[in-house]
Amino acid sequence: MVDESNALISKFLHRHLNLLPSAYESNDSARLTLAYFLIEAFGIIGECLPQQSTISYIDYIYKCQLDFGLGGGFRGSLSINNPPIFDPSNLTMTYAAILLLGLLRDDFTRLDKPGILKSIRDRRHADGSFSPTPTNSESDIRLVYCACATSTLINDFSEVHIPTTIAYIHACRSYDGSYAQMPNGEGQGGTTYCALASLEMISQHLNQSSTLLNEEDVSSTLRWLSQRQVDGFQGRTNKDSDACYSFWIRGAFNSLKAISSLPPSFDIFDDAQDGNFILSCLHPLGGIAKYPDELPDVLHNCLGLSALSMASNRVDQAKSLKRINSTLNVDIETLDHIKRKMSVR
């Protein structure tokens, strides 16, 4: 990004990290995801946090961890300090917590890996899907993604039952080549990303790439992804563009390439138009919004930056952004750090 936009984004991030506006009140139980969007954005613009704060943030995150005896995994905040029977860990928060710890360069010595594995097992359904908490029967492809991502990050897939999970992902496939939140639903950009990224992580784990999707499926998914660009990207057919879909669709495309015979250098998008759209969502006081002239929020800001980073070969203003791994949505340096630390555990 040019210095000016970088400085604006940085101001937005500091302002929000210090104190989130009261509009975020309803996300109190999901604070770790908000923190992840903020700190990942710092990572993408290449700004380091002062060491004093990283130490105390790491402490806070570990306070959200429940040990094996309490079910394992991470809660989203310390909002409910009651016994975990009513406030168990949440799979999405566990995934966000590990990425956050990596972003803050923690050494993971305090990570309760058996607890995390137990928490994945307790959220697994017979059909291959997962729930956010064991007390919640809601289950869908977003949680499949969180289970696969967590397993990838801790380098242990033992609690994902791979054949049923693959079958569940295939069941979410829609007639137009996209993937829905659950079987038989309407395909959508975010859920298509979750499905393809999960397949990619599973195929990496199995060490086989080309057997999860047949050629015809690859071709119709590719067609659906290419149709989503309007200037930026829309999430569904005939909807308006929204900055977060620049990330979801690009990420889905990367994962599709990884599990098919499509060449890694292959590109189907108009990066310049997408870049212009995302930058038009940049608020004059900093932060990227969903649409132009909207108020920015931490999710769209992070995903907008991630997308810009993925388009940075052809978007001048994005040249200084750090490279990201779109499958886990984290910058490459952080992912290397996590892999290094997890391999010695």
């Binding site: 105390s56 943030y57 310390l78 359904h125 108009d270």
Partner: protein
């Protein structure tokens, strides 16, 4: 009035949020008498002594109205309802209001589903406190889907379908994702109870939404679900193709109906080389190309190109190169397709 000052809660001492010395991304609850913070402080006190009571139920409702995404509070509410054996009909009434107000909350729809699952599996839910509910809130997710609905619950299913239909109109949001997911759950769960008249109603409902907005992809997806997943197609595939072609005639560039057409062929294991569709597409392409300032509808040209590619017919390359010129934002995609056609 704040919970901290209420007479009916004065036996409890609110427990403030303890975030430690340096919280990560704290939220600004700046107001001194913040009602959300006040209610949450009392909620912690209630949970601390595991109180399941009517006043605790009211407290969860207040919090949900301020924070509909708070899954912990929702779960606590569910356990109160089940343990006290409270009237689920009135809970469903409350959900009518809350699902309208918090249309985009995952939790509100999930809770509604729990209520309907409970109501559908027992003749008098919770009338007898000694008789446990048919569905309990299980600690492992494997066992949490409700058993089959009782035949008497057909009215409940019909009520739900009507409620959602009204909601689409009331909220003017007939593309709302949560609502469609929920409607499809109702249709799946009660599938065996539905009669021909119900299926007929559903198809009329779909038709009315397509007429309201032919570009609404959610309705096309729902049509596919009913006809080809639930297996409601009572005419022939040919008749359904004719139906789609009429709709494409109204909006020739509408990708929703073209994708639907591809989908129904694929699910019936048929390729794109259908004489009827090829003729139709050619007519559309020629009619538009004949007038000077109008481009042919791209999906029609794409159909001809993809069908030719499927047949290894070299004309595909020419079509893809035309598409590349007409649709520059996707030029890389069309170039790639043209290379595939060349090497086919």
């Amino acid at each position: 009035m704040l919970y901290a000052e209420r007479d009916d809660f004065k036996d409890l001492i609110p427990i403030p949020q303890d975030e430690g010395p340096s919280p990560l991304a704290p939220i600004n609850y700046s107001q001194k008498c913040n009602p959300h913070r006040d209610a949450m402080d009392m909620f912690r006190a209630v949970v601390d002594i595991n109180e399941k009571s009517e006043r605790a139920l009211g407290l969860t409702e207040d919090i949900i109205r301020m924070n509909a995404g708070h899954y912990t509070v929702w779960h606590y509410r569910t356990t109160i309802l089940v343990e006290l054996g409270l009237d689920l009909q009135s809970e469903l009434k409350l959900m009518d209001e809350l699902s309208t107000e918090f249309l985009k909350s995952y939790q509100v729809w999930h809770h509604r589903r729990l209520c309907v699952g409970l109501l559908a599996t027992t003749t008098s839910p919770f009338a007898d406190k000694n008789c446990p509910a048919a569905v309990t809130i299980s600690s492992t997710p494997q066992t949490s889907s409700p058993p089959p609905p009782l035949p008497s619950s057909i009215d409940l299913a019909r009520y739900e379908l009507q409620f959602i239909a009204n909601l689409f109109h009331a909220t003017e949001d007939p593309k709302n994702y949560h609502t469609w997911v929920y409607r499809q759950w109702i249709l799946t769960y009660f599938d065996k109870l539905f009669q021909d008249q119900d299926r007929h109603h559903e198809l009329e409902f779909i038709e009315s939404l397509i007429n309201d907005d032919i570009y609404n992809n959610s309705v096309w997806s729902h049509r596919f679900f009913c006809l080809f997943k639930l297996g409601w197609l009572h005419t022939s595939l040919e008749a359904e193709i004719e139906y789609v072609l009429i709709k494409i005639g109204i909006a020739p560039s509408n990708m929703s109906s073209w994708n639907y057409l591809r989908g129904i062929l694929k699910v019936n294991r048929k390729g794109l080389n259908q004489q009827r569709v090829l003729q139709f597409s050619e007519t559309l392409v020629k009619a538009k190309s004949a007038s000077d300032d109008m481009n042919p509808p791209l999906p029609a040209l794409e159909w001809l190109a993809d069908a030719a590619l499927e047949d290894k017919n070299p004309i595909a390359t020419k079509h893809y190169l035309t598409l590349k010129d007409l649709d520059p934002i996707r030029r890389h995609y069309w170039t790639w397709k043209s290379h595939l056609a060349l090497s086919a």
